[in-house]
């Protein structure tokens, strides 16, 4: 999607295992999962299933006067990315033109659930609870908190939303719509998603085990991640620290089923090939793949086939980090881009937590433990409901 490499100059992340890149990497080194008991809201049906819930109150550090939980998560991550990139040092007129592109699937749904609860169960009308329902609310919250009036967009491609947002931001930079963009994704846990995925019978009662022969489903999580992206020229002219490069983004659609991936993995393979083509790299240049790897039977099998189709006999080091963060839906693509950047920085590959025995039918061998590796190029996959597939190729800054 993006033709010229894009500089990553700032990172912000809020997750169940930590609310900074350093904290997240420490958890990856400790191989400490963020899965635990659901405490955010009561759920008669799904309260016993482990989820990855952000501890502490995001509203305390978001800087927002009001907003949904998703708004607060997004604002926390965006503030950190903005600060690390030192974008506030730009002249005011230029600073205000920084763009915002976020992905979200459910936006302010927690407040909307409360609205319906009060209306249907108690007969009370509280329309103010719908104020932050619109999907655009997190992007609006971030833009408002940082006083930004540049290019702004919200994308919603299910579990690929975070990757899509990063790709759209790269397009905006290439098209000259902005010189710098805050791009990422955010989603909170909600009764909608906990019950919704539960109704599909694809949630693991003991936590997800991506690519494992005994995997039984996914684990839900919440969080946000935002990357400060700039054109190379803009970053270099203002002397911004460059943390990593985005070399290419690719997207495809399975056009197969509302939820199930195309079984042969051809859709996911197309997205990876498209990203590599934009990056002008052959598959063997990739040192690490952060897989979507939800832990469901269908997704992991299809993605495994896709990896083998793209990389042949030389599938690079692969891991899914979903057991660390849970499946954070729209935030996943952005969180996992941050993980790739940290892997590039530390020259280590994160563990595929939960792996006991790799499924021989899938035919790949995820990394069981966090370990040293030469990581110059990483690829991150996000595969969503509706067959939306997104892949991002990232490279080491030095």
């Amino acid at each position: 999607m993006c033709r010229q490499r894009v500089a990553v100059t700032g990172l912000g992340i809020v997750s169940a295992v930590g609310c900074s890149p350093a904290a997240v990497w420490a958890a990856i080194e400790r191989e400490a999962s963020g899965l635990g008991a659901l405490s955010l809201f009561p759920s008669q049906r799904c309260g016993h299933i482990p989820v990855a819930e952000v501890r502490g109150e995001p509203a305390d550090r978001s800087g927002l006067r009001s907003g949904s939980r998703t708004d607060h998560l997004a604002a926390c991550a965006a503030r950190d990315a903005f600060a690390q990139a030192a974008l506030e040092a730009l002249p005011e007129a230029l600073r205000r033109q920084v763009g915002v592109v976020l992905g979200t699937t459910t936006g302010g749904i927690l407040d909307s659930e409360a609205f319906l609860e009060r209306l249907l169960a108690q007969g009370e009308l509280a329309p103010e609870l719908l104020r932050h329902h619109p999907p655009a609310s997190p992007a609006e919250a971030v833009a408002g908190a940082l006083d930004l009036v540049g290019f702004r967009a919200t994308v919603s491609t299910a579990c690929a939303s975070g990757a899509t947002a990063i790709a759209v931001a790269c397009d905006a930079l290439a098209a000259g719509e902005a010189d710098a963009v805050l791009a990422g994704g955010a989603d909170s846990l909600s009764r909608l998603t906990v019950n919704g995925f539960g109704s599909l019978l694809n949630v693991a009662a003991d936590g997800c085990r991506p690519f494992d022969a005994g995997r039984t489903g996914l684990s839900l999580g919440e969080g946000a991640a935002v990357l400060a992206l700039e054109t190379e020229q803009h970053a270099r002219e203002r002397g911004a620290p460059i943390l990593a490069w985005i070399l290419g983004c690719g997207s495809s659609c399975d056009a197969y089923h509302a939820t199930a991936p195309r079984p042969d993995g051809s859709g996911a393979a197309a997205a990876m090939r498209a990203a590599l083509a934009v990056a002008q790299l052959e598959p063997q240049a990739v040192d690490y793949v952060n897989a979507h790897g939800t832990g469901t039977r269908d997704n992991d099998l299809a993605e495994g086939l896709a990896l083998r189709a793209v990389f042949g006999d030389r599938v690079p080091a692969v891991s899914s980090t979903k057991r660390f963060f849970g499946h954070t839906l729209a935030a996943a693509g952005a969180i996992e881009a941050v993980v790739c950047i940290l892997a590039l920085e530390h020259q280590r590959v994160p563990a595929n937590l939960g792996l006991r025995q790799a499924d021989p039918e899938i035919g790949i061998h995820p990394v069981p433990h966090t370990c040293d590796a030469q990581v110059r190029v990483a690829l991150s996959n996000s595969l969503g409901f509706g067959g939306s597939n997104g892949s991002i190729v990232l490279a080491r800054a030095s």
Binding site: M1, R45, R152, V155, S156, T157, N195, S251, A255, G387
Partner: protein, 371 residues
Amino acid sequence: MAEALTGAGILGEGLVLPDPVPAMLPAAVSERLALGPCHFCSELPQARSLSPRAVRRMRRAQRLALAAAERALEAAGEANRPSDEGAVVVGTGLGCLGETAAFLENMVQLEEREPKPAAFIQSVHNAPAAQLAICFGLRGESQTFTHGAISAELALGHALWVLRAGRSRHVLAVGVDEASPYAITAGQEAGCLRREPEPLMPMGEASSGGTLPGEGAAGLLLGPPAPGVPRLAVARARPLPHPDVLRVDPAAEAAFIRDALGLAGISLDRVDLLLLGANGFGASDHACARVVRAVRAEHPGMACGVYKHLCGEFGAAPALGVALAARSVREGSVAGEIRCLHGGEAARPVATGVVYHLHESGYHSVCVVTS
């Protein structure tokens, strides 16, 4: 000087309009919410691409999107049928609200005992885009923009990027929103919706009472430019410099329009039709009128019209405006559905149309359609 953007051919467009007379939305919760009237489709359009059984499983937003896409593809003709590398881009202001509400209502009323998996699956905002990809076998990119009042413009702008980058030869772009009692409730809470059932007259005498919510869809098949085919040259949407629409500077807005036209190498004096997104909300209509006066003061030959009396107000409505502008350029005259404020029948032939929105939520946009 940057090279002028060529744009994309609008090979075919299709519209799905709601009933012309606003009425009360027949939803179970309407009475409890004390809803005002809205423009909606009392009968959902029939789909020709799917069996009746398959259509019955589709929800409202998907059916509207599918009908609009079908009409666009039919208008484009078999020769322009996209291959499987074609892309889909959807703009929807609020996404699949109906199914989200259906799932949550059931969850609350039955205290989570019997969740509806089908409603959950259909509540995902990219469900219409997914359905279009499945129906028409389009395996290129599939993107869904959900940014309120500029969702359609973002989708169209992204479609132009996809085509310029050579990622697909065709893009099926659809703007769609469904009427929802909860969206209406939120609008009533924000104080921007009317309660009178009279038809909407944007920028007319009755415009001080607020807008009427609506629903609808427009589909455009975008592809290589060709002689005689209208081109979508520009689709640009931005936040206003200040969120208060009453603080809009008409000269600055005229410059915003002029700059967008400049991207396509077109000057303001070549614009034959200025199609406005005025929607009956007093503040934004008033601000829009000031902009129109500033623009037409220098270009009195420009026809000027509105279209939201056809469909009411919803996030993706600008897609309908672009489809009407395309129809006008294709026919060489102002499309009959447009309500002309200035010019109209006496106007010069339409070779270039600008669709301009100034929205009370703090956004403005310009889409340029030219021959």
